[in-house]
């Protein structure tokens, strides 16, 4: 153990040429109390065999801030103690031998204001390939108010989105157009029209719908907006379709965004793979142009899913709230994609709350004040259907977009019927909850009663009654709500 390792304070020894342990260079400060203005990162570290966990934590602090592999005299030209990140706490991960939680504090002056790119270049930069570690995962971050206030935050936010859509008191409903690739623009718009007329608020391009030979983007936008407007007239509601403006260059994305705006769209969409700077640019454009900005988290599972290595989705969620998107996919709990209830609750709280108190059982390691940044609307998508409405409302609450792609378009009596089934199920469940019913237990009865006056819902409940996705999650919290006694 290096518990006794101390920073070498004698300047002559500290700065004599050669190699020195990171923990002795000033990157391990067990007595350090983080300042209110420090950025704090929590890493899960898995040191190589024989590497001490304190030295590993100090190395992470060093490699994600000022250090290089050897002593450099040029440190002495700076206020280097200030700029060194400081590992100040290392805890073993419960029930995971060989893994440790390392708390590292960074002075605010290490980061450029308002730049996710700059933040991430340090925090998840070179350090993730550092050889003395088998694996490294960024689990959570505490972002100080002084730093949060340098970001725009969500362009629109939940409250104003609802005001613009004239839609209150219930989850929003959406569907991704399927098949996701191959439809011509004219046929694609048909799906949009039927789904919106049937009762959905939104339809959505999928992440890989951009501008392909079978459907170029202008065609898609034109037919989709015809469908949106027709559906709005048919129902008297504001409708939208997430027009995906993801493209190869920023210039092209701006051109597509402007075209969507000129046609009267209320919302545009981007993919996470365009990168943090592009996301921040589009968030600024969205704020300047009264546009809701939907972000599809395409690609995130390459680094969020495994517990030992990568970046937790809760950190991505925090970065995206800073970056300024309005919608972001956050899991369904009950659907086909990864997510256990406790971890997913942590994500939803990061999206929607003014203040997140530490909640280890939900994977939230720090108190986080959002300093009045707008709230992000979580999107629940992937393998959900009307028969799960009571579970969805219980788990996910009211401020969420429930997206039933297959659960709308796959309805045996057509897309409009599928949409109506979902909308009726939703309204019946919200009504029952408000009227004091125990929807968790009485949900199936509530749905059955609602289906008495809605044939499409009856058909939906029948066809999907046995569909569940009950697999063990790969990314669950490390802490149980009530700690179990271990011997």
């Amino acid at each position: 153990m290096l518990d006794q390792v101390k920073t070498v304070t004698d300047a002559k020894k500290r700065y004599s040429a050669g190699v020195m342990k990171y923990a002795q260079m000033g990157y391990w400060e067990p007595d350090y109390t983080p300042k209110d203005t420090d950025v704090i990162a929590l890493f899960r570290i898995t040191p190589q065999d024989g590497v001490d966990e304190v030295e590993a934590a100090a190395a992470v602090a060093g490699e994600s801030s000022t250090a290089t592999w050897t002593v450099v005299w040029t440190d002495r030209l700076t206020a280097c103690e200030k700029y060194r990140a400081k590992a100040y706490r290392v805890d073993p991960v419960p029930n995971s031998p060989g893994e440790f939680f390392a708390y590292i504090a960074y002075d605010l002056d290490l980061f450029e204001p308002g730049s996710i790119a700059n933040l991430t270049a340090s925090i998840i930069g070179n350090v993730f390939g550092f050889k003395p570690l088998k694996a490294l995962r960024l689990e959570d971050m505490r972002l100080p108010t002084a730093y949060v206030k340098t970001f725009q935050g969500p362009a629109t936010g939940i409250v104003v989105e609802r005001e613009r859509l004239n839609c209150y008191g219930r989850p929003l409903l959406g569907a991704t157009v399927k098949p996701k690739l191959g439809l011509s623009a004219r046929n694609y718009g048909r799906v949009v029209y039927e789904a919106l007329k049937g009762g959905l608020d939104f339809t959505k391009d999928d992440e890989n719908i951009n501008s392909q030979p079978f459907m170029h983007w202008r065609d898609r936008f034109l037919y989709c907006m015809e469908a949106v407007t027709r559906a709005s007239a048919a129902t008297g509601e504001v409708k939208g379709t997430y027009l995906n403006i993801t493209a190869g260059t920023m210039e092209e994305m701006y051109a597509r965004a402007e075209f969507a705006k000129s046609l009267g769209s209320v919302i545009v969409m981007i993919d996470l793979v365009i990168g943090y700077t592009a996301i921040q640019s589009m968030a600024k454009w969205a704020r300047d142009n009264d546009m809701i900005l939907h972000l599809h988290r395409a690609g995130h599972s390459t680094y969020t899913r495994q517990r030992s290595h990568g970046v937790s989705f809760r950190v991505i969620a925090k970065w995206m709230r800073l970056a300024g998107v309005d919608h972001l996919h956050a899991g369904t709990v009950v659907g086909k994609l990864e997510g256990d209830p406790a971890t997913t609750k942590g994500y939803y709280d990061i999206f929607r709350e003014e203040y997140n108190p530490m909640a280890l059982e939900n994977g939230i390691f720090f108190d986080q004040d959002w300093a009045s940044l707008n709230k992000m609307m979580p999107v629940a998508s992937g393998g959900i259907h009307a028969g799960q409405m009571h579970q969805l409302l219980t788990y996910l609450g009211e401020d969420v977009v429930l997206q039933f792609g297959g659960g709308t378009i796959g309805h045996p009596h057509g897309i409009e019927a599928g949409a109506t089934a979902n909308r009726v199920a939703l309204e019946a469940m919200v009504y029952a909850r408000n009227a004091g019913r125990d929807i968790w237990n009485e949900g199936p009865d509530i749905l059955r009663d609602a289906a008495e006056t809605c044939t499409p819902l009856k058909q939906a409940l029948e066809i999907w009654k046995d569909v569940t996705f009950d697999y063990t999650s790969t990314d669950a919290p490390d802490f149980a709500p009530t700690p179990e006694v271990s011997f």
Partner: protein, 139 residues
Amino acid sequence: MRLRQGQFSFLPDLTDAQIHDQAQYAIDNGWAVSVEYTDDPHPRNTYWEMWGHPMFDNPDAAAVVFEINECRKEHGGKYIRVIAFDSSAGWESIRMSFIVNRPKDEPGFRVVRQEGEGRIIRYTVESYAVREPEGRRYA
């Protein structure tokens, strides 16, 4: 056509007892309930006419149902909705909105298209009812 605005427009029309339950839910959450009516149901018509002020400090949904019925006496041929307003910091907006009265006939909306260059179309959605002046619609 059936106007689909509000939380419960895909369900059968609410009875007064059901309206009471929903209004009580709002009150129990600390939200101020108000009654509004209009004869211009365009989806972007934000400002329906207020039937009095929001009922701040009212503990009993029976008072809401009473006001709805008073409103119906005068505006029974129009749309009437119930709104619940949440004044808490960070929200300060509407939490609930549902229709409690409709005209007998709902003619709906038409789409007006203005064709522009490059296949661009400028769309307008217009309620058939607003072709008549205010007060003479849905009569």
